[in-house]
Every structure is written in C-alpha cells, then in structure tokens.
C-alpha cells in the first residue's frame, strides 16, 4: 500500500507569510534584471523592481489586518502587532532605497539591492516570530545580509566596519543562541507562548532570558553594548546605515516586546526585566553624552540612535498596554526624523565622499536655506522640541513610565533630553554660523530627486505625527 505524505499546513499558513515571501522572492527578479539589462538601465530598473516588490508586500500585509492567525504550528503569528512592525520594516527599506542611487558601483547595484531586501525579509520574519527557531532564523537572515552590505563601499573603513560588525554581532548571536538553549531546557518548549507557564527550573529560565536579552540589547545597540555602532555606522555606505538604524531596530524591538509582554511568567516577569530598564536608562545618558563629542553626522546619529532606542525601551517599562502603544508610536516617529536626517546627508554627498562631516554643514543655512531649515527641523525633532513628532512621542513615554511606577526612568529621560539638545544644536549652529571659513561649494548629486522625495515625506510625517497620536488600540491583545 503506497504511503502518502501529508503536509501539516495549508493555504492559511502560506497566506500568513505571503508579504514576507514577496520581499524574499523579489531579489531573484532583481538579480535577473541585473544580469539581462544593459548597464545604463540597470540601476533604475533594479530600484524600481525592489520598490514595487516592497509596496506590494506592504499592501498584502495591510490586507491581513484584523485577521490574527497562528501559522506553522505557532512559529509565525500574524495580527495587528506583526503588521505594524512589518509596515515599519517595509517603510524603512523603501526610504533606504530612495537614498540608494549611489549604493555601490553600477555592476554591484543589483546584488546590493537584493541583499537589502533579503535583510528586510529577515526583519519581517522577526516581526511575527513566535518561537525560538523563527526568531533565530529571522535574526540571522537580517544580520548575514547586513555583514556583506557593510563592506560594500570602496574604502578601508567600510571593510573594517564589516569585520567589526561580523565578529561582534556573531558573538551576540552566540550568547542569544545559548540563552535560547537554556530557555528550551528550562521549559521543554521552543514556543514563546509556553514560557508563560511556571518553568521547571526557574534558575535556568532566568539565566536563559538574561543571555537571550543580551543578544537583543546588542542588536538594539543599547548601552553598554553600543560600542560597535558608531564605527559600523561610519564605515557602512549611507543607505545601509539608514537601513540599519531603522529596520534592524524594528525587528529586534518586535521580538523584545513580544518576549516581554507574552512570554514571561506573570509572577516574576518584572524581576527578569529590571536589568532591561536599567540598560534603557544607561543608554539615554551614554548615548547623549557620546553624541556631544562627535564631528561626523553619521557617528552622531549612531549615538543618538542608542539614546532614542533607550526612550523606546523605557516606554515598555512595567509592560503596560499603553506603554507598548507609545513605544510603537515613538519608533515610527524616530523612523521619520532619523531617516529625514540621513536623507539630508545623502543630498550633501558627492561621488566619492559622503556629506557626513561637520564641515559640510558650515554655512549651509546661506547656501541652501531650504535644506538647512529641514535639517534643523529633523534635529529639533530628535532633540524632542515642539512642534515635532519627537516632542509628542517623548511626552507620551514620560506619561506612561510615570503611570507604570517608573518615575526614575522619566527623570533620566528628561536629563538625557537636556544633554542631547546641546549635541544636536551644535550642527544647527554650524549651519547658521556667519563667516565660518570659506564655505566649501558642494555640488549636489545629479540624481538627487529621490533623496529630496525622502526628505519631503519625512518632514511632512514628522510634522503631522505631532498632532496625531497613533492609536492601534487592538495591538496589545494580538501580541499574545
């Protein structure tokens, strides 16, 4: 009698990962186009294909709103929470593509864009990952593609950045993986949902969660695991840096939030997470103090990112439902203001030099008043001054951390903000300083329409979000 092989999952499971699948398969088309097309057409077609794939995936993901489903035996969960993070990843990847008009040489463009999309698909997998295997797979898919992208620029600092990122990030993955093994040992399951039951060995569970969290604190570049960030940001090509500053963070934050909210036993969840709030507080101080000394905008944004992610994690303190909503709101606000600043840097770049050094900004307020005004706007948003989304976001985080009984976090947030204002205003002052030497005349890229589009969208979004606190009221129930 012939035995039949049955596949244990059906159409609904494949539908759940369809957006992810589209982002993971588009690179194949991209590489094919890269092979077949003449050199002159290649870059524009490749970018257009990648953007279309991402937009289609965004549409498919949005279609699943309100239809939570647990696919592949609980390995991947769709629903409001997953969709919000997937859309953030897709938006982040699209903005990075806008800046990618000079990513790599013409013959490298196809491969670079393909790697960018594969990396984004890893982050999208992390957004919905609900067991240890899918989390690990998503994280490694995200990271492995990024190691290659970091070393893409033809300068020694890029190769150095790739090597540093490879070694440090793999070590963090090693810690995280060992933590996962211990979690499996403590509970006998790889499902996050099974962790909420009291563990057979609480000691092993605490140890495992600690190692697991270290891995994600590293990926979020929170202090004291942020040392790699400025170097890697400086060395990597600009679009890749922009991508890392949003997409990696969104993916890691999704896993962290799911773990904190859904996977910890009620009795000692807060005790396990206390180190996380301390790390968030430390990041707000270390990130902002570190930003003071920087003369390179990419390095400054690296330190700023450490502090901003500290704010986001602080919003989760006490794991309240409002806290999660505000963390997501601040992540979206951070995406727009941060990518806006990166787009300005892209506009100031020339063929062989990225416009990230402070000298490129000297007297910019007189040479390009519009661009300087927009950069000022983004920096004020990052500093958290009104009327920007950064202000609204910080206000909400303050409210939620005080509500949750973490007033000390709120105090540190205010102190950090005060320090950061000085770091950001340094660039603003340089832009409007009179007679700051003979200003270097920097020619804009010929293909600067796309970065301008990015600047415009980010500026509008940063302004509009000030008045529109995001309210995905059904996000929290879907985490579980």
């Amino acid at each position: 009698m012939p035995s039949t092989l049955t596949i244990p999952w059906g159409n609904a499971d494949w539908n759940a990962i369809l957006p992810l699948g589209v982002v993971a398969l588009t690179p194949l088309l991209v590489i094919l186009a890269d092979l077949l097309l003449p050199r002159s057409l290649r870059r524009s077609v490749v970018l257009a294909l990648a953007a279309l794939g991402l937009i289609y995936a965004g549409f498919l993901a949005a279609r699943g709103w309100g239809h939570p489903y647990s696919a592949f035996g609980g390995g991947f969960v769709t629903g409001g929470f997953t969709i919000v993070f997937q859309e953030i990843v897709i938006a982040g990847a699209l903005f990075s593509l806008l800046l990618a008009t000079h990513l790599g040489r013409d013959d490298q463009a196809g491969g670079a864009v393909a790697l960018l999309l594969w990396s984004a698909s890893g982050a999208m997998l992390m957004a919905g990952a609900a067991n240890l295997m899918t989390i690990f797979l998503g994280l490694e898919l995200l990271s492995l593609a990024l190691y290659c992208l970091c070393g893409l620029a033809a300068r020694p600092s890029a190769r150095e950045a790739a090597l540093k990122y490879l070694i440090l990030s793999s070590t963090a993955s090693g810690f995280m993986l060992y933590g996962m093994a211990l979690l499996f040992g403590a509970t006998g399951s790889v499902q996050l949902s099974a962790f909420a039951a009291p563990a057979a060995s609480p000691m092993l569970f605490t140890l495992g969660s600690g190692l697991f969290l270290i891995g994600f604190v590293f990926k979020l570049s929170l202090a004291p695991f942020h040392i790699w960030t400025p170097d890697v940001y400086e060395g990597a090509p600009l679009p890749v840096t922009a991508f890392m500053s949003v997409v990696t963070k969104a993916g890691a934050l999704a896993v962290l939030a799911r773990f904190a909210y859904a996977a910890l036993p009620q009795a000692n969840a807060q005790a396990i997470l206390v180190p996380l709030w301390i790390v968030a507080a430390l990041s707000m101080i270390v990130g902002n103090v570190g930003a003071l000394a920087q003369t390179d905008v990419k390095r400054l944004l690296a330190y700023s990112g450490t502090a901003q992610l500290g704010y986001v994690v602080a919003a989760l303190a006490g794991t309240t439902s409002l806290g999660l909503r505000y963390a997501i709101f601040y992540l979206v606000a951070y995406m727009f203001m941060n990518l806006g600043a990166f787009a300005v840097v892209a506009l100031l770049s020339r063929e062989h030099e990225e416009g990230s050094h402070l000298s490129a900004y000297a007297g910019l307020g007189y040479r390009q008043p519009v661009l300087a005004a927009l950069m000022t706007f983004f920096l004020l948003a990052l500093a958290g001054l009104p009327p920007t989304a950064g202000f609204t976001g910080k206000l909400l985080i303050l409210a939620s951390s005080v509500d949750a009984g973490y007033a000390w976090l709120a105090v540190i947030l205010i102190v950090g903000t005060a320090i950061s204002a000085y770091a950001y205003l340094k660039i603003v002052l340089a832009m409007y300083a009179r007679g700051a030497g003979a200003p270097l005349q920097r020619a804009l890229h010929p293909a600067s329409a796309l970065p301008w589009l990015g600047v415009a969208i980010c500026a509008i979004a940063t302004f509009v979000l000030t008045f529109y606190p995001l309210a995905p009221s059904d996000v929290l129930p879907l985490v579980k």
Binding site: R159, A162, G174, L182, F184, D231
Partner: protein, 105 residues
C-alpha cells in the same frame, strides 16, 4: 554485547557550558579573526549540544530540529565571515584585528 551506557544529562550540560566559555574566551582573548570566527563556532556548537541534550530530557524533537537549523546558519555565517576576512586582509601581510583600527571606537 554490552548494554548502551546511560550517561546522565547533566554531564552534557556541563560540557556544553565549558565549550561555551572556551568560545567566549577565544573571542575576547585571541586577536586573529580566523581564530575568533572559530571561537564563535564553538559558542554555536555549545548551544547545539545543550539543545540536543535538553531534547533528550524533555523527549521533544524540537531541540534536535533547532540544532539542524543552527548548523545550517552557522555554515552560512562561516562562509560570509571568511569572505569578509579575505577582503579585509587581501593587502595586509599578517592577520591581526589590532591592525584594523582606523575607526575610533
């Protein structure tokens, strides 16, 4: 024929912890990126050993499947890692991370 010897699972866990710390020590102490990559492999494989031992304890095959996944990912990681090391040190005479220190940290 002898009956298969039953080894207590705690031995496996202790061994995997030892291997893990050898890996951590290797990454911290050694300065040759190839050795550092090997040390990272050790960390991954320590986790594999723990996963398989725990899979035996809980009689849950998920641990063994996870170990296969880790082996696959570690292989890709090694391939990419070696490629990056080759690119970085193509022009260098010796291989030492302390010489790759143009960025300020």
């Amino acid at each position: 024929m002898n009956a298969p010897m039953d080894v207590d699972v705690s031995y496996y866990i202790v061994l995997s912890t030892v291997i893990f710390f050898i890996g951590v020590g290797g990454v911290i102490l050694r300065r040759n990126p190839l050795i550092m990559l090997m040390a990272i492999e050790l960390m991954f494989n320590a986790a594999n050993l723990a996963l398989i031992a725990f899979a035996r304890v809980w009689i849950n095959n998920a641990g063994q499947i996870f170990a296969f996944l880790v082996i696959t990912v570690a292989a890709s990681e090694a391939a990419i890692g070696l490629a990056i090391v080759v690119v970085v040190f193509r022009r260098a005479k010796n291989v030492d991370v302390d010489e790759v220190a143009g960025l300020r940290g």
